[in-house]
């Protein structure tokens, strides 16, 4: 019997939503880590019982949580579950140490909102990307932008300093949400190839496992930076890829939906007939690499859906020709946003699509977008949605 597990991060805790393959009856568990911001949770493709979570707080900083039983129990990964080694019988669990590798790349500065230079400061983990093959290996994209890696299940984290030390760092600058590394894509056909994206620096690719990186922003055009065609400085909101076509990438930029057929070396716009091409979330059908989903947002000044209608747009042609998907979604008086990591797809034959809103709804379409139903209505603002498919 197939099963799906939806991992939802919100402003005030995490929730786990489970259903069988029909996806019409749901069990809701949570809030986990109540009161904390859960920027992202993601399960290991190599072991679905292994889930990592980024728990963060403006007051108390960063905590990494880990589950080894599919989300039933959690612990900070410093100590195996149940083992008590600290004085007084407390779990050690020191898992929140993200320190930039100043020896690997000098701690330089980046551009601040006022145009001055500002030192790199760690703030939080935006995105966790478990290895495709090893449950103990996981990457973390952080603010201020850098990429960290753990090979011991989240206990110790080391920066891959080649990215921050790329040399264009002084030209990177924070978007409204901070200077975050929010997208990490591991290439299943080439273990040394990783794509990342940073707001607002752009997209980068490594072909040597993270030692060296190159900007892959050719073809992007951004009116809000002095040179609209610059090598870096673009506010890339999210990138998505179907694992079956690793070189084919789709990007939701600040404005513009973009496509690359050559692993990011060149991009061209595929916004086509979208009512607005501003947005955050983008994803690709699990079995159809040319079927793409976006949620158009009205504008950079008005972060809610266009015309008060919550519409997912689907292109079955790899972009340019888009159709609104509205069945089951509110079509009046709706003013929610869908954030960059808040859309996901399952891998069942009919490809379920999921997304969460800043209004606290999580929707599912069990039929690739043709119709939608809410799983939950009233969660805190949703920051991230991931789905695990157990066949």
């Amino acid at each position: 019997m197939s099963k799906v597990r939806v991992l939802v991060g919100t402003r005030k805790g995490a929730f786990i939503l489970t259903s069988d393959g029909k996806r019409d009856k749901w069990e809701v568990n949570g809030p986990l880590f109540a009161g904390w911001e859960l920027y992202h949770l993601k399960g290991s493709p190599a072991d679905p019982n292994r889930i990592y979570a980024s728990q963060t707080s403006g007051w108390f900083g960063q905590v990494i949580q880990r589950s080894d039983d599919g989300g039933k129990t959690w612990h900070q990964p410093g100590t195996p579950p149940g083992e008590t080694t600290a004085p007084g019988g407390m779990p050690k669990g020191e898992s929140n140490k993200f320190v930039y590798d100043a020896a690997g790349a000098p701690l330089t500065t980046h551009q601040w909102y006022d145009g001055t230079q500002h030192p790199w400061e760690f703030k939080r983990v935006w995105h966790l990307e478990p290895s495709l093959t090893d449950p103990d290996t996981v990457y973390a994209g952080v603010e201020d932008a850098a990429l960290f890696k753990s090979t011991d299940g989240g206990q110790n984290w080391k920066e891959l300093p080649g990215l921050r030390g790329h040399g264009t760092g002084p030209k990177w600058q924070p978007g409204a949400g901070g200077m975050c590394l929010h997208t990490i894509i591991l290439d299943p056909s080439d273990p040394k190839r990783i794509y990342i994206a940073i707001s607002a620096a752009g997209a980068f690719r490594t072909d040597d496992g993270g030692k060296t990186w190159k900007p892959i922003n050719k073809g992007l055009y951004s009116k809000y930076i002095p040179d609209p065609h610059a090598e870096v400085g673009h506010c890339v909101h999210h990138i998505a890829m179907n694992p079956k076509r690793p070189g084919l990438l789709f990007m939701q930029k600040h404005w513009d939906v973009m496509r690359s057929d050559d692993a990011g070396d060149n991009w061209h716009e595929v916004s086509g007939n979208l009512p607005t091409d501003f947005g955050f979330a983008i994803d690709v059908h699990a079995h159809e690499p040319e079927t793409v989903y976006v949620v158009p947002i009205k504008s950079d000044g008005e972060h809610y859906v266009h015309e008060g209608k919550l519409r997912v747009y689907r292109s079955r042609t790899g972009g340019n020709e888009w159709e609104p998907l509205t069945k089951g979604l509110p079509q009046k008086d709706c003013y929610v946003d869908v954030l960059r990591d808040a859309m996901a797809v399952d891998t069942l034959d009919d490809c379920g699509i999921y997304f969460g809103t800043t209004g606290g709804q999580v929707y599912v379409s069990p039929n690739a977008g043709d119709s939608w139903q809410p799983i939950v209505h009233d969660l805190p603002a949703v920051l991230s949605v991931e789905v695990q498919t157990m066949k």
Partner: protein, 101 residues
Amino acid sequence: MAVMIRVELPQHLRTLAHVGQEVPIEVEGPVTQRSVLDALEERYPMLKGAIRDHGTRQRRAFLRFFACQEDLTHESPDAPLPDPVVSGKEPFLIIGAIAGG
């Protein structure tokens, strides 16, 4: 000489450390903010980084340190804490500053 200091934690740090509102902490030598926090983190390593930054060891911006109805947040981390804290009569309070919702 070691003394026992009472440290009161905000809710989220109690959850992280699996403790109640107040924890007793044994401190060797002079009782200061630094020595109390060092001893607290030694006893509860999961609080490392949650009160002071890992790299700089600076207090996290939205945390405050109170004792004896005084705000000691901006005192030197090496200044002696008040006698009632040293004697255990009063707790050393770690407070999440009021901000946001």
